[in-house]
Symmetry: C2
Subunit: 196 residues, 2 copies
DNA sequence: CCTACCGATCGGTAGG
DNA sequence: CCTACCGATCGGTAGG
């Protein structure tokens, strides 16, 4: 009896996974429910049984990403030098999973438009990332671990922007871009202490 | 007699201008020839008289941008400190024209996919920008104007990535992001001499 | 979950 | 440049 529910939950997760890879290929607007359904082994009407609209599926994709980030306890590291090290580790992890990076880079760009269904999600996401980065540089500044003259507010904003921009070039360039090295290089140019 | 040709040329330019603003709202894939035609005051079949395919119109949009950049003699400034100053001026110019920034930021993200008709265009564009930035930092390094320990190759890659990422956040954030200030801050953290 | 369908919209063509 | 059309595809619904 609970089996019915379990199968449904698994099916839902399958569909979300498939959606992520289709979004990665065609973007959100360029993806059709029929294509996602086909790769999931059901009809598009069947897909709409699980997710009543195209937007509901997108929301589920974004929700899953948030819960994965939370699982990884991304934000459990307090702002500071360790947070920056953790960010490099996260970048190194992402480099092993280009498909995922691709989805979110494309979605973020599509969602620049205020009417895009993921617009608010990314606005919140950027603000959180920025606040966290700025707080980290502020902690460094207080401890004298920041090079003199470096503004924590700009350094934080630039860190988030840099990660985004590097991802696009790394995705586009087919391996010619050393994402992690570039990120380390940026951070080292701001720090008065070794990054380790 | 030449009037017919002139009118055609004007019409073509009108259509390209309209296409730019529709791309800015909906991206390339999300834009329809019918919508671009409607705003240009013709039917979509009429538009196809001037641009035989959807891709041909995209190509015309990108071509125009290149010729505008060339007109501005973007690349006439030799690599070096002046080139970086010129880049800041270009960013300040772009901040006055969010619509144009929007189109190219969205197109660049869409074109990450290798099958996208603008993929090759952006790949070339990125490579040129990167080479130019790296060359500038190399010139600075030779003149001792770069802070010791700064790698010109990473600094150049990061400069291009940073500009891209800042544009996305600036577009998305609705004015909360100081793009030009952030760019200056990045450059100043790398230089051993004042940027002026 | 499926079959069967809807109205809307798409890029492109014919033929003038 | 337009009218008129094509085949394909879209998201979503009805009804089981």
């Amino acid at each position: 009896m609970a089996e019915g529910y379990l199968k449904g939950r698994i099916r839902r997760e399958d569909i979300i996974t498939t959606a992520v890879s289709v979004y990665a290929e065609a973007g959100y607007h360029g993806s059709s429910l029929r294509e996602i359904a086909r790769r999931s082994g059901i009809t598009h009407a069947g897909l709409l049984y699980y997710f009543p609209t195209k937007e509901a599926l997108l929301a589920a994709v974004l929700e899953r990403r948030d819960s994965e980030d939370t699982e990884r306890e991304h934000l459990a590291v307090p702002p500071g030098l360790d947070a920056l090290r953790h960010l490099i580790a996260l970048a190194a992890h992402n480099v092993q999973h280009p498909g995922i990076v691709d989805v979110y880079a494309r979605l973020a760009a599509e969602a620049v438009a205020a009417e895009h269904p993921a617009h608010d999600y990314f606005e919140r996401h950027y603000k959180m990332a920025r606040d966290y980065a700025v707080a980290s540089f502020q902690v460094l500044a207080e401890r004298g671990e920041l090079r003199p003259g470096v503004d924590p507010a700009y350094a934080g904003l630039n860190l988030v922007a840099l990660m985004d921009g590097l991802q696009v070039q790394w995705l586009s360039g087919g391996g010619a871009v050393d994402l992690v090295g570039a990120l380390r290089s940026y951070l080292e140019s701001l720090l008065a202490v070794p990054l380790g």
